[in-house]
């Protein structure tokens, strides 16, 4: 390899590492998480084995006998129990005899164990028998084991003789960690909740994109174009305010507007309407607010892009079209709009992708409510994976939802690139080499 190429590789190495770390890794990790059933309960590191009541429940269907037995305590004469008995302060002979004759024995029930204790040569009294038997009460329910081996040896010492197949199913149901699974995707595909969220998302993107990011932005562009330049600049700055105001504050202002003690309530109160939270009062209102909030923030970008594209059209074309007899509307229709094709497409692409991925305005304003009326895909993913009231965060499912979004984004980008027809965008260089 020659040195200049070597040097080239060295030069792009930092960029490559950055791309790997900050662009690819998140996607890869999302992909990995999406193929698991990680939740708050499973944690994200490996889990333990715990014979919890619910795991016994699960077992009942396949191995009813064993599940039944595991639910009951057993009495195992083991070293730990012996130590405890020695600590009870009873006649030392009892412990000695017990250890000598019965260490390692397992009794299925309390009665059997106590019968054995009573039968000892030392003849412990009935209250003592109870005390002693209590020391050997061994239940597997709710005990945790850090590995399969520990689980099986514990079961073994308690006298559960299991076949390999049985061991496998016991390990399965008692495992508290996460597993690899594709279940997330089938859940997404089949859940009516998800369909609803998908519909919300499409509605949200379509409304904001069409009404505000393009149409309204275009209106602002045309409006400011035909204004004298000083007021045009002032108006453009005003329309930029939603964009440059911190989103938390901007949304807060909308909330003030809509709260039951806010502006709208006060105003409507003058006409005799009782105060209410206009934003969350019903789904229709919530949608209006969500679209307005996002729309006013998003329109500024279209306005800037369109305005600068418009500035790039030579003035002489407007002069010529006026001389040619074109009315203002005809100028817009035949001169401006046709030359706005790429800016419109660009804004559409860019804004679709950013609308799909962004949920902060909705989170701050309606939290997806009322109910789940304004819950969009990215917000649903966030709620599922990172923040919900139930408390059990389903990382795996959330990641799968995010992955769906990533895939949709990639597909859309590729589609847009096709429409843009990269070849014509990257036109031939003016200076050929």
């Amino acid at each position: 390899m020659n040195t200049s190429r070597m040097l080239g590789l060295v030069m792009i190495a930092p960029a490559a590492i950055m791309i790997l770390l900050f662009f690819l890794m998140p996607v890869v990790l999302t992909g990995v998480f999406s193929m698991t059933n990680m939740t708050t309960a499973t944690g994200i590191s490996g889990g333990a084995y715990q014979i919890a009541p619910h795991s016994l429940n699960d077992l009942k269907s396949t191995m009813p006998d064993i599940a039944e037995q595991m639910a009951q305590p057993r009495y195992a004469i083991d070293e730990a129990g012996m130590k405890a008995v020695e600590g009870l302060g009873l006649d030392a002979g009892i412990a000695t005899e017990l250890r000598a004759k019965h260490i390692g024995d397992v009794f299925q029930t309390r009665r059997e164990a106590e019968r054995m204790i009573k039968g000892l040569d030392q003849r412990p009294s009935t209250p003592d028998v109870k005390k002693i038997s209590e020391q050997f009460n061994r239940s597997v329910v709710n005990s945790r084991f850090s590995s399969k081996e520990e689980l099986f040896s514990a079961l073994d010492t308690l006298g559960f003789k299991l076949t390999d197949a049985q061991k496998d199913s016991v390990a399965d149901v008692t495992y508290t960690g996460w597993n690899w699974t594709t279940e997330n995707f089938s859940r997404i595909a089949s859940s009516p909740d998800m369909a609803r969220v998908l519909f919300n998302t499409l509605l949200y993107v379509a409304l904001v994109l069409v009404l505000f990011n393009t149409a309204y932005a275009m209106l602002l562009m045309i409006w400011t174009h035909y204004m004298p330049s000083a007021p045009a600049t002032i108006f453009r700055s005003i329309w930029l305010l939603p964009r440059i105001t911190p989103v938390v504050i901007y949304v807060l202002m909308w909330k003030w507007l809509a709260w039951d003690t806010g502006f709208i309530s006060v105003l409507m109160g003058k006409f005799g309407y009782p105060p209410k939270n206009y934003m969350l009062d019903n789904a229709y209102n919530a949608w209006v607010f969500v679209v307005l909030i996002n729309g006013f923030i998003g329109a500024s970008m279209g306005m800037l892009v369109f305005s600068s594209a418009l500035k790039a059209i030579p003035k002489s074309q407007f002069f010529a079209s006026e001389v040619d007899g074109a009315s203002r509307w005809q100028q817009i229709r035949y001169i401006i709009l046709p030359q706005m094709r790429w800016p419109i497409l660009f804004v559409t692409c860019y804004q679709t992708l950013s609308l799909l991925a962004s949920f902060n305005e909705i989170l701050l304003s309606t939290r997806g409510g009322p109910g789940k009326a304004t819950e969009v895909w990215s917000l649903a993913a966030y709620h599922t994976a990172l923040n919900n009231y139930a408390g059990n965060l389903e990382y795996g499912l959330g990641a799968a939802m995010a992955l769906v979004l990533v895939v949709i984004g990639i597909v859309l980008s590729l589609g847009y690139l096709r429409i843009f027809n990269y070849g014509t965008l990257v036109s031939r260089p003016l200076i050929e080499d």
Partner: protein, 351 residues
């Protein structure tokens, strides 16, 4: 349709470009606005077509005051200096645009476009976009677009600047022919005096926002009102000798050159004067001999051009039929044709 500019003024903010300009272009007349770069030719044109509103004065088309009418209401065709073609439309769509905005039927537009594009020789380019045309082709598209709506007034801002010599000649007569046939009143802005003289009925020479003189090409050439006008018209250009008034004659101090002036020229004794001599009036056949050395010689095919440094140091230019006996450095004694010499005072005013 007659165009009248009455006391027209235009300033951009504090920059006064044109002040109190008055001139008239008669019905069916073609007027050339000739002047150096930046003198306000385009500005005047823009005011006539309604893109710029005058800051003072009136503009009349016929008897109609159009001063405050928008361009759309003026029925004018304009060829802009920068062509101003619509880059996203094909040539045919560009040419047809004025008709389309009028609401003409597509088929009729097509017919008109075919007709007019044949006229300017771009019938084979109709499907292309402006970016795929040469400068000269773009100019012709712009011309076709200006003509297609049969305007009352045609304004041309250097419409031929980008054409090659042959095509320019062709287009000159073509534009003139179309203008004559249709009886359109036209104003042609140009730098090129040959263009102005050959195409137009009258020429208006502008300097720094003012019209110095309006006249027919022949009048303007033989009877310029100022030294500026005399210097602007004529190729090769006129040369000036500097001297003083002495005993009713133009005299260059420290030289034997003495050109008697007609009685009509009145200037005080000793006043500084300029004598304009056109190259064709400094030849071996003149009456006031002015000896000197040839410093420059050039053949233009049919004629030869010489610069002669007179003994006093002044320069005269001469144009003569081709001859081979004079070379650079030769001493010659050619003569000024005093009847055709033009006399100006020190400020350039004709006397």
């Amino acid at each position: 349709m007659r165009i009248l500019l009455d006391n027209f003024s235009k300033s951009f903010g504090a920059t006064k470009v044109i002040e109190n300009m008055t001139f008239e272009v008669g019905h069916g007349e073609m007027l050339a606005l000739l002047g150096p770069s930046g003198c306000g030719k385009s500005t005047t044109l823009f005011a006539i077509c309604g893109i710029h509103r005058p800051t003072g004065g009136r503009i009349l088309f016929g008897d109609r005051d159009v001063t405050d009418l928008p361009s759309q209401a003026r029925n004018i065709g304009v060829v802009f200096q920068s062509y101003a073609l619509y880059p996203h439309m094909t040539v045919a769509e560009n040419i047809g645009f004025p008709l389309k905005v009028k609401g003409m039927a597509t088929a009729d537009i097509g017919k008109e476009v075919d007709r007019i594009s044949g006229l300017v020789h771009i019938g084979n380019l109709l499907g292309r976009r402006p970016a795929e045309l040469s400068g000269g082709q773009q100019q012709r598209v712009a011309l076709a677009r200006a003509l297609v709506r049969k305007p009352d007034v045609l304004l041309l801002d250097e419409p031929l600047a980008n054409l090659d010599a042959k095509l320019r000649l062709e287009m000159r007569s073509e534009i003139r022919r179309i203008q004559r046939e249709t009886g359109i009143t036209a104003i042609l802005v140009t730098h090129d005096q040959v263009e102005a003289m050959s195409m137009c009925d009258r020429i208006a020479i502008m300097k720094e926002g003012e019209i110095v003189q309006i006249a027919t090409p022949a009048e303007m050439y033989s009877d310029p009102r100022t030294a500026f006008v005399a210097g602007f018209l004529g190729n090769p250009p006129i040369t000036f000798l500097r001297g003083v008034m002495a005993n009713g004659a133009f005299v260059i101090p420290d030289s034997e050159i003495r050109v008697p002036l007609p009685a009509s020229v009145s200037a005080p004794e000793g006043a500084k004067l300029m004598l304009g001599v056109r190259p064709e009036h400094f030849t071996p056949t003149g009456d006031i001999s002015a000896p000197g050395n040839v410093t420059f010689a050039e053949t233009q095919g049919r004629e030869n051009l010489y610069d002669v440094q007179l003994n006093g140091g002044s320069l005269l230019r001469s144009i003569q039929p081709v001859r081979h006996d004079v070379n650079i450095g030769d001493a010659v004694t050619w003569a000024i044709d005093s009847k055709n010499a033009l006399v100006f005072d020190d400020d350039g005013r004709r006397l």
